[in-house]
Amino acid sequence: MVVLADEKRYVLVQGITGREGSFHTKLMIEYGTKIVAGVTPGKGGLNVHGVPVYDSVENALKKHPEINSSIVFVPAPFTLDAIYEAIDNGIKLIVVITEHIPLHDEVKLVHYAKKHSVIIIGPNTPGIISPSICKIGIMPASAFSKGSIGIISRSGTLTYEVAYSLAKVGFGQTTAIGIGGDPITGLTLLEAAELFEEDEETKAIVVIGEIGGVMEEELAKAYARGKISKPIVTYIAGKYAPPGKRMGHAGAIITMGMGSYESKIRAFKNAGVAIAKTPYEIPKLVSKVLKNAH
């Protein structure tokens, strides 16, 4: 089995007529993803790489009631509305590629999705891919291969790099989930790890974190409590990174010292998680944790 991106995904592309939307629709179709319809307001009736375009999600669903997922390429000023439209029409998995969405919109979309039990991947994500099964995203397919590792990442390029270096030593992925690079994301690292925890086929989880936010610390705590029992290998980018912008006193007051590289490493170390110093160290550690698990 895989998580989220399985063979039962019937995908709607919101913003299909845009440059990115149209380009990646083609690549997803080539990968084998079931792209059944697209939406661009005012462009209903067109056809993008063989995919019919509708003016509204409602109209797309009327013709394609099997749609259960959506990928969003809509420009940032209109993304929140596009997500409302998808959620109000009953779509329960939404991959939001769009970057630069205003933070206040992100707070709202996370709130709204939670209230309606909808999974949002992203925003600012490369998407999700289950190699040779389904890709709802923009990642280069060639970097990924089928296997038993689950990847969860806050970074796009780094995910490709890690998938590629895992492949070199023979490890493929059940699924790779880009949770998105923004400070607020629909699915958190922990929630993604919980999905892999329940997936029989996934033997180990690779977590690519970053400085900032407290998602890594939350995951580490859950691991320490035994909520996640599968072996995790993690890499946290940003040990030598420039300090992020200071959010007045509030930033420091809220995070209470969490969010730094040291805080994250400490949390994972305390939880007994294998920590890679560089992304290129990950394959070696994966071999090790899998050996120990036997």
């Binding site: 940032a76 000023p77 630069h100 969405i101 205003p102 933070l103 206040h104 707070v107 709202k108 996370v110 709130h111 490369p126 923009i138 990642m139 280069p140 060639s142 970097a143 806050r154 970074s155 796009g156 390029t157 780094l158 995910t159 490709y160 790099e161 590629y164 690079g181 400070p183 607020i184 690519i208 970053e210 400085i211 900032g212 936010g213 407290v214 939350e218 890499y235 980018a237 940003g238 040990k239 030598y240 990174a241 420039p242 912008k245 200071r246 959010m247 007045g248 006193h249 509030a250 930033g251 420091a252 007051i253 809220i254 995070t255 209470m256 969490m258 110093k277 560089t278 992304p279 290129y280």
Partner: protein, 381 residues
């Protein structure tokens, strides 16, 4: 995007939040005795720079007469605080403070929600205070759809021990700050301290950070308050990079790092650091960068005198490696300064890319280890 204190205070004024009377000047010649006298001494002189710890760095001073005011103002207008030149000073009436509070609205990434923060212990030491006595911080999440409820603010006012006849003013100020927070798409609206004086509550120091992703809907409104270019980095180069859509931050090492994607760029810096070298900067060319953009990115580093070597790490996905290679080559052709350069390039059309680079005498590796080894050997010489 952090705006300056006096700009933020102009917004506060428009939301009818009490702030000390004052004025700004940007040139010592414009300092006017009557204006200062009409406020009444003592006055506070505050350097307008968007950095923290300004007070401790000598950017905020009290003056007792016009002579002192002139001296201090002229000094401040000539100096630099934490690397930022002081272009404007704010001169304000000094208010006698009975008690200082801390009040802020921001977004808590962990809760993924708006939070209202307040504490009895306002002032410059707020962070240490809260670290030692976390119970002094009141943090209330706010439903983004329902907004701030008055009773929530009142309850905080009671918990802070705000005197009863100031509770209404406190509620008004908090509501106004929240409206501002939403209407300006702010990441932070902070008052520290919110001072209790014998004339009521005053926002003595304020800070507003605007979400840059919201500028498409905030720009027009902001231009009423911000006279300068809005898209500025802290240094000229950062500013240039910003206008080019590049993410660039200067650091104090000597290896310039370029990557595609924030994560990979950070990871590359980590590698540099782990190998005993120090990054001079962080430069992310983003996804799907064009030849021209890459050229500009490389140029910025080549022109930076602190940079001894440039290390480029690309994993092509949407980004085409050959496009990157062509950009590098073009930049090198125009370069005035000669730098060490090592490139690791992998992914979409990487063979073509390495060929282009080799033909132009640029060291290009497929594997990161080889590239790093080469960099190290070059840096040792």
């Amino acid at each position: 995007m952090e705006i300056l204190e006096y700009e933020a205070k102009n917004i506060f004024k428009d939301y009818n939040i009490p702030i000390p009377a004052g004025f700004t000047i940007s040139s010592i010649d414009k300092l006017n005795r009557e204006k200062a006298d009409s406020l009444g001494f003592p006055l506070i002189v505050k350097a307008q720079v968007p950095v923290s710890g300004r007070g401790k760095a000598g950017g905020i001073l009290k003056v007792n007469n016009f002579k002192e005011l002139k001296l201090i103002t002229s000094k401040l207008l000539k100096c630099t605080i934490k690397g930022i030149p002081v272009r404007t000073v704010l001169i304000e009436k000094f208010l006698k403070v009975i008690k200082e509070y801390y009040v802020a609205f921001t977004i808590d990434y962990s809760l993924r929600n708006i939070v209202f923060l307040a504490s009895t212990e306002g002032g410059v030491d707020i962070e240490e205070t809260i670290k030692e006595k976390p119970y002094l911080l009141h943090k209330v999440p706010i439903d983004p759809y329902i907004g701030l409820k008055d009773y929530v603010v009142r309850n905080i006012a009671y918990k802070l021990g705000i005197p009863k006849n100031n509770v209404r003013s406190f509620t008004f100020i908090a509501r106004a700050m929240f409206n501002m927070f939403r209407e300006f798409d702010a990441e932070l609206v902070e008052v520290n301290p919110l001072a209790l004086t014998d004339k009521g509550l005053y926002a003595l120091d304020v800070r507003i950070i605007i979400d840059e992703n919201s500028l498409f809907r905030q720009k027009d409104k902001l231009l009423k308050y911000i006279s300068r270019e809005m898209f500025r980095g802290k240094t000229a180069k950062e500013e240039k990079a910003k206008t080019l859509g590049l993410s660039y931050v200067e650091l104090d090492g000597n290896v310039g790092v370029i990557g595609n994607g924030a994560g990979l760029t950070m990871a590359t810096m980590d590698l540099i650091g782990l190998h005993g070298m120090r990054p001079a900067c962080f430069l992310d060319i983003g996804g799907g960068a064009s030849k021209a953009r890459v050229k500009e990115a490389v140029n910025i580093l080549l022109e930076n005198p602190k940079v001894k070597a440039v290390f480029i790490n690309i994993f092509g996905g949407i980004t085409r490696c050959d496009e990157v290679a062509l950009g590098i080559v073009e930049a090198l052709k125009q370069a005035k300064l000669v730098k060490l350069l090592v490139v690791r390039i992998k992914g979409t059309r990487d063979k073509e890319a390495r060929l282009i680079l080799k033909q132009n005498n640029v060291e290009a590796y497929e594997d990161i280890e080889g590239a790093l080894e080469k960099l190290r050997s070059l840096m040792v010489i």
